[in-house]
Amino acid sequence: MSRPGMFLDSVGDVDLLPKVLDAASRFTGGPDDAAMSALAERTAAVPLFV
């Protein structure tokens, strides 16, 4: 949401929707790339496309 003018389509699972909406409603600014790299490492994220 930190990128101006872009819209975010919500998650395709209604049970997760409250967390996404709650996050969006509290948005004031975004994390930096270091925080996102740490998130990717902590959660064992994998690229969606190969």
């Binding site: 101006p4 819209f7 909406l21 948005f27 496309f49």
Partner: protein, 236 residues
């Protein structure tokens, strides 16, 4: 606290920065769908995005549109690539949602090169969209897609036709791919210049399911922890 709003491209509509992606309604009961509506209203979400291929989603939002007339910017998508098929599909969508027009109709998942050429050539789905716009059945025309090539494909689509919106994946890990990021950033700049709305998907996608049990109704395994979802939603 309502979710902030921004102008949805050139449409003049102030849409909530989070758009309700209707795929989640594909296989839920009307009761669950109606609970979801209450949640959306509580957070100020005023833009719905469904598709003819999202199971029962178009049917599930029909009572919403009757209960809250005029509240939502209404978008749906069609998968047919020929004009004849697309006309029929659009009318089916209107019937299922109980409306006489939609705000935005999108060519859904337009990534395959052969389908792309069919849809955007004479006799293709775009022809049906232009007719429908003339007839007042739709107001704006968009294009959506998925996959590593889609940012580049959307750039080509915008060269072929002046679409009003695009939709594609966007998250931190996907943007670490230089090819994808380069095309995404170029697409973003074009869209800013031409006031084309940019919608993103997969913001909280974590990884492919890769054989693990599907514990969520999502195409990819998602982030689950609230703190992690906060970061993913807030990221640039």
């Amino acid at each position: 606290m309502p979710i902030e709003q921004a102008e949805f491209g050139r449409t003049g509509h102030q849409s909530s920065r989070v758009i309700f992606g209707g795929a989640g309604l594909a296989q839920v009961s009307q009761r669950v769908a109606d609970e979801t509506l209450d949640l959306l209203l509580a957070h100020g979400v005023n833009h719905l995005d469904v598709a003819s291929s999202y199971g029962e989603a178009e049917v599930r939002i029909r009572p919403w549109l009757q209960r809250e007339p005029g509240r939502f910017f209404l978008a749906t998508k069609g998968d047919e690539r020929t004009a004849a098929g697309a006309r029929e599909e659009l009318h089916r969508s209107l019937d299922r949602m109980g409306v006489d027009h939609v705000d935005l109709w999108q060519l859904h998942s337009l990534a395959d090169p052969i389908e792309w050429d069919t849809a955007l050539s004479p006799g293709g789905a775009l022809e049906a969209a232009l007719e429908a716009r003339e007839q007042g059945l739709i107001r704006w025309i968009g294009v959506t897609g998925h996959g590593s090539q889609i940012a580049a494909t959307h750039r080509r689509s915008l060269e072929r036709f002046d679409f009003d919106s695009v939709l594609l994946p966007y998250n931190f890990l996907t943007m670490q791919n230089p090819y994808y990021a380069g095309n995404f950033n170029a697409l973003y700049e074009t869209c800013r210049e031409r006031r084309v709305a940019v919608q993103t998907i997969k913001s909280i996608a974590l990884r492919p399911w890769a054989g693990r049990p599907h514990t969520r109704a999502t195409w990819y395994e998602p982030l689950e922890q609230a703190d992690d979802i906060d970061l993913a939603v807030w990221w640039r």
